[in-house]
């Protein structure tokens, strides 16, 4: 019985090599893949088929909720809770509500954007198996990593390692769970 691993990680020198490797791994049939890079790479998003995320929808919902909450707050306060006659204006003076409704829309949308980002990424996550790889610290500097995770159905520590070696990485290492 082999000791369990999280996956195998290959280190590359430049984004071109990483994107080529990610494409090759997808073609080979691997699906439980992730790449780690020091900056966003658009081609990598294509190579790993990562285009859909729900963030826009979350932000839209947050914005709508904020707008409704902002308007209702003002309506409730000026019409129901604390009605005062100012210069004979109607209690429900909606043109005056526009600014705060707008500000609350932006506020709620921005907060839901950040919470959505963290939620969809599963952050904060102080521990992750990849941090066990000593050279992984360079993923935030100048190295590009491709990780094939052990839960991939095609994953086999020997074959996958051999496959990663064919992609001419700088180094392939096992990731402890």
């Amino acid at each position: 019985m082999n000791k369990p691993v999280y996956g195998l990680i290959a280190e590359f020198e430049n984004p071109t090599a990483l994107v080529a490797a990610a494409r090759a791994a997808r073609e080979k049939g691997y699906r439980r893949l992730d790449a780690y890079t020091p900056f966003p790479i658009e081609e990598l998003t294509d190579a790993l088929h990562l285009h859909h995320n729900k963030l826009s929808l979350i932000v839209l919902m947050g914005g709508i909720l904020g707008g409704i909450a902002g308007y209702l707050l003002q309506y409730y306060v000026t019409v129901i809770y604390f009605p005062i006659n100012i210069a004979g204006r109607p209690l429900h003076s909606w043109p005056s509500y526009i600014i705060i409704t707008f500000e609350m829309t932006i506020l709620f949308a921005a907060i839901s954007c950040v919470l959505g980002l963290l939620g969809l990424c599963g952050l904060p996550m102080p521990y992750h198996p990849t941090f066990n790889v000593p050279r992984f610290a360079l993923a935030s500097r100048n190295r590009f990593f491709l990780c094939i995770e052990a839960r991939d159905p095609l994953f086999d520590i020997k074959q996958t390692c051999a496959f990663l070696e064919t992609l001419e990485p700088r180094e392939v290492s096992e990731v402890a769970p």
Partner: protein, 460 residues
């Protein structure tokens, strides 16, 4: 360091000097934070900040004890320095959001190396701005009354008042700017976490980085989030100074009650904000040797934005007296005439020369390419924009409809102490920021490098 061969003169045409690699970019920016040797410039700057901050705290302490009467606020000029400084500071903040949000949406890649400290500038300028309306309340410890909350007094804010709109606009602006700044910092905090050898620093940066590991899945969501936040911040920043201008235009004071104030204020805000960006960037890049990252091209582009917004502001000044004349309203005529020839004429003509004449020099490339001259012109613009708000607020209030109630505003030493004090607060926060956090966005500068491009194979 490996970047010694980088020639800043070659960099004048590009947004990043040739010769950088992912590693040297990272090291150069991270070293400013992670080094044990702090430059004397930093200690000098922080000391000035602390001294002025103490001035601020004493002025505020006295204000809490004695009340706003220590300022020169006397009927009819009840807004005086406080609101002038509020508008000035919040305007300065606008350039940071313009650079981080609007230029991101417009795909202006040169913004990548100046957005981080410009956003920090926004946050600290908004903090300074927020001080003034609160201190000006008279009973600043009751500032939470500005927000609608269930209370035993059974009263609520009047949502028909632009002053309440301002509370929402400014607090939303501060919150969204902080969120945007933090999201931008996350990958760089991870870099610092991975690069530092200090256990305490690794723990602190590690907590703040939230476990960011540069995963492609995360980057794809992150890019969506940046675009969405930029899209939200863009209308927000335009709305904030619009709402600030509503504080004036919704009132019927002559010289305030006009429809072109919102665009005029927004242009003026960006004008003074870019002046502050230049005033900060020029000394910083010289002291920390960052000429390869904040190149002459950045300074020139900022100078061009300053020139463009300066021309809009100049146009607004002309429209201001044109519309006053065109209304055929005697009070509007008198307000503008008093501004130009009355007791505030020195301030008025100084602001005209600072804001209209001085930027005309920026038409010349020889001047735009000299950092020392740019620094000088940005200081002139900052002074001019302060005078502009002073003249708009004070001269309109001092001489309104009823000559028998006219009175001239005299700033006291506590007015000056509070104003200079917020400059101290700003410097204090800013110097802490450049020591503790990367002042240039490392990951965004990496994307500017030619080797960041993925070379596609033919036929792929």
């Amino acid at each position: 360091m490996a970047d010694q061969e980088i020639d800043p003169h070659v960099a004048s045409k590009t947004i990043i000097a040739p010769g950088y690699t992912f590693g040297t970019v990272t090291d150069q920016i991270a070293t400013v934070v992670l080094t044990k040797r702090t430059p004397a410039f930093w200690f000098a700057g922080l000391s000035v900040g602390i001294v002025l901050l103490l001035v601020f705290l004493s002025a505020v302490g006295l204000l809490f004890v004695k009340g706003v009467g220590i300022w020169g606020l006397r009927t009819p000029v009840m807004w005086g320095f406080a609101i002038t400084n509020f508008v000035w500071w919040i305007g300065i903040g606008h350039a940071g959001t313009l650079i981080s949000a609007i230029l991101l949406l417009l795909n202006q890649r040169w913004r990548n190396s100046i957005n981080r400290f410009a956003e920090a500038m926004t946050l600290f300028a908004v903090s300074c701005a927020g001080m003034f309306p609160i201190l000006h309340l008279g009973r600043p410890w009751l500032a939470y009354w500005l927000f609608p909350y269930p209370n035993t007094m059974g009263v609520q804010p009047n949502f028909r008042s632009p002053l309440v709109w301002d509370v929402f606009a400014v607090s939303t602006y501060a919150t969204v700017s902080l969120l945007f700044w933090f999201v931008g910092l996350m990958p760089d905090l991870a870099t610092l976490r991975d690069r530092t050898h200090n256990r305490v620093a690794r723990f602190a940066y590690g907590i703040l980085a939230m476990g960011w590991r540069g995963s492609a899945k995360h980057w794809s969501i992150y890019e969506t989030a940046s675009l969405l936040l930029a899209g939200l911040a863009t209308p927000l920043v335009l709305s904030v100074h619009t709402v600030v201008s509503f504080d004036f235009t919704i009132a019927i004071v002559p010289g305030w009650h006009s429809t072109f104030f919102p665009p005029y204020f927004v242009a003026g805000a960006i004008y003074s904000g870019f002046a502050m960006v230049l005033a900060l960037a020029i000394p910083l890049r010289a002291v920390y040797g960052l000429e390869g990252l904040i190149t002459d091209k950045h300074l020139e582009n900022s100078a061009k934005v300053m020139l463009a917004t300066g021309l809009i502001v100049g146009y607004a000044y002309m429209m201001e007296f044109f519309s006053a004349w065109y209304t055929t309203n005697v009070y509007e005529h008198a307000a503008i005439w008093n501004r130009m020839t009355g007791p505030y004429k020195v301030a008025y003509w100084s602001l005209i020369s600072c804001n209209i004449l001085a930027p005309q020099f920026l038409w010349f490339k020889q001047i735009r390419s000299k950092p020392a001259l740019l620094f000088l012109s940005s200081i002139v613009v900052l002074i001019g924009m302060w005078l502009e708000r002073y003249v708009i607020i004070v001269s309109s209030l001092a001489q309104d409809y009823l000559p028998s109630s006219w009175s001239i505003f005299q700033a006291t030493r506590w007015d000056w102490a509070t104003y200079i004090g917020t400059i101290g607060l700003f410097l204090f926060l800013f110097f802490l920021f450049i020591r503790l956090l990367p002042m240039i966005s490392i990951f965004e500068v990496r994307t500017l490098l030619p080797q960041a491009k993925v070379e596609e194979e033919v036929g792929n």
